[in-house]
Amino acid sequence: MSTSAEGVLSVEVPRGAFHLFTNLCKGCGLCKEKCPKDCLIWSECLGSFGTPAVIPDDPQNCIACGICQQVCPDCAILIERKRVK
Amino acid sequence: MGGKVVRIALAGEGGQGVQSIAEIITEAAFNEGKEALYCPNFGLEQRGGVSIAFVQIGDSRIGAPKFKTGDIFIALSLRAIKRCRQYIGPETTLVYDSSIVGAEAEVPPNAARVMAIPAIQRSKEELHPRVFNIVIMGAVIGATGVVTMEQAREALEAKLGGKFKQNPDLRELNYRALEMGRDLIGKSGE
């Protein structure tokens, strides 16, 4: 996991990368509940409302399906997918 | 202010055509270059009740749209006399149709002059019951001289020209009704 100066939490996952923009995350947890692998947990980093931001528990569990990105009301999550060769 | 303003109130049952008479007379006065103001009483009586038209014709700008008492008051029904007696004063000539039963008892004693004219009867016998209101219009013109007969005929033409075209006999009928009304009052508007 890396945290950029802009407050982006980035996690390399097997099929790509999970990015979370802490300045946008309000910690609602809707994404957490929708994750089909149930792999999102509250991280140590705080979001814009001072609540914890989400992060995959184990990068290996994240399949980069993009559902968390889709349900986020604040566009705080970005899933980058590697091109399948 | 300036010259004398003639004030005319017409009252009748809805459908008797008092508003049309007022409209045609004021239109004629306007065409003659006079100042005219026609104010309909469009109260709740608009449908099924007493309909009143207030007409003022003069040489210069007319003041308030309504007036207290008219120079001439034309009543076409008993209810119209009862309801509108407030517009009859010591300077008012009251004209009503002689067929109205019980009218005499309702006539305010202060009217300057009272004339009962057989407009309904004569129009029915000699012309057509439908032109009764034109007979009344002739009576108004006869009594007040606010417009010339020529202008009245032109205003009629403007209002009913379409019907006259379809049935030219109607034109003659209306003209005769106009003259009948004037003669019933016994005064010439020309």
Binding site: - | P40, N41, L44, R61, A64
Partner: protein, 361 residues
């Protein structure tokens, strides 16, 4: 836009018809309306005339909607207008408020009827308070009170111009008599009389690509902080005060040596003027004052008019509406104020003359 009236044309028609013609001549693009007596014929004539000149109309589900569709049309940059009366005027206070707040050049023709509630469909001057100060604001509106068909025509044209120039909702307020009665007046092409029509322009739905040619527009109508709104209102009031001397109108006659000044507005001022002439002819030093704009009120002019007089006689077809405005604007002048107040009833010159003489005693 082809001119609606060629040259000058003397006509004999109802005030509602005059209003529709005036809106056409003023370059109105679209009318939104809802039936209510005695305004209906404004819509009737408009719907017959508008298609000839490529203008539009929508009959809405109620006056609230008619007012708000008008607001939408104005934001989109069209000369939109509406007409209403009585209870409809009450419902329209809500959209008028939006027009006030967002500085939309709304023009409404009001034909006052008797109130409160459904009252009568006939006549009154009881919508003065409502039209000038109705709504949850400070009455940043322009209200013309007309006295004749000529004025309905003149002030509807002027009203559109003033609204689009100063961006305050503008009202041309007549009444049931003026709506329904017929009298002569002269219609004209505003351009032929040198009246330039203020062009309309959109404040939303602008041309150009967002992010390339322009920024997007976010029109705000609700503020989070009291201070924010205060600032907006301060600016509004400052603009209004600045505009006032340019817009305010009145008619004053025989006031210099008058002992009692008859103050009336709208159609009643016709009787007021006649009464003063009668009184003068009889040797009474009567004066005549008529505010043409009820908002902004011709305060300065009225105060000047009453300088030498002892009493003011307010005459209105309402109980205490013009009177309230008069008293407010003469608040510190030592004057006796009396009223001939006949709510929802017409007033004639003789009554004013009689009241004047009584008041004089």
């Amino acid at each position: 836009m082809a001119s609606v009236i060629e040259g000058e044309k003397k006509v004999f028609m109802t005030g509602n018809e005059v209003a529709a013609w005036a809106a056409l001549a003023a370059g109105a693009d679209i009318m939104f309306g809802y039936p209510i007596t005695p305004q209906n014929e404004v819509m009737h004539y408009w719907t017959r005339l508008a298609p000839r000149y490529g203008r539009k109309f929508l009959q809405t589900e109620d006056e609230i909607s008619a007012g708000f569709t008008t607001c939408g049309g104005l934001q989109a940059g069209c000369k939109a207008f509406t007409a209403t009366a009585g209870p409809g005027n009450v419902l329209m206070q809500e959209p008028y408020g939006m027009a006030e707040a967002m500085r939309l050049p709304l023009l409404a023709i009001i034909q006052q009827r008797g109130g409160p509630s459904s009252g009568t469909v006939v006549y009154s001057q009881q919508e003065v308070t409502l039209t000038t100060y109705g709504g949850n604001g400070e009455g940043h509106r322009i209200v013309y009170s007309t006295a004749s068909h000529q004025e309905i025509y003149d002030y509807v044209i002027k009203g559109f111009n003033v609204a689009w120039k100063y961006r305050f909702p503008t009202f041309v307020m007549g009444d049931g008599y003026q709506a329904k009665m017929r009298e002569s007046m002269v219609m004209y092409d505003p351009a032929a009389r040198g009246i330039e029509l203020v062009p309309a322009n959109p404040i939303i739905g602008l041309s150009g690509e967002i992010g390339v040619d322009r920024e997007c527009v976010h029109l705000c109508n609700i503020y989070s902080l009291e201070e924010e709104l205060y600032e907006v209102l301060q600016k509004m009031e400052a603009d209004y005060q600045k505009m006032t001397p340019e817009v305010v109108e009145y008619d004053a006659r025989f006031c210099e040596d008058a002992e009692i000044i008859v103050v009336s507005h709208g159609v009643v001022s016709r009787a007021g003027q006649d009464a003063v002439k009668i009184l003068r002819a009889q040797g009474f030093p009567a004066g005549y004052f008529r505010p043409i704009t009820l908002r902004p009120f011709p305060q300065e002019a009225l105060r000047k008019a009453v300088e030498n007089c002892k009493k003011v006689l307010v005459v209105e077809s309402a109980l205490n509406q013009l009177q309230r405005l008069v008293k407010e604007n003469l608040y510190d002048v030592a004057l006796e104020v009396d009223a001939l107040a006949k709510p929802a009833v017409g007033i004639i010159a003789d009554e004013i003359v009689a009241r004047y003489k009584e008041f004089r005693k």
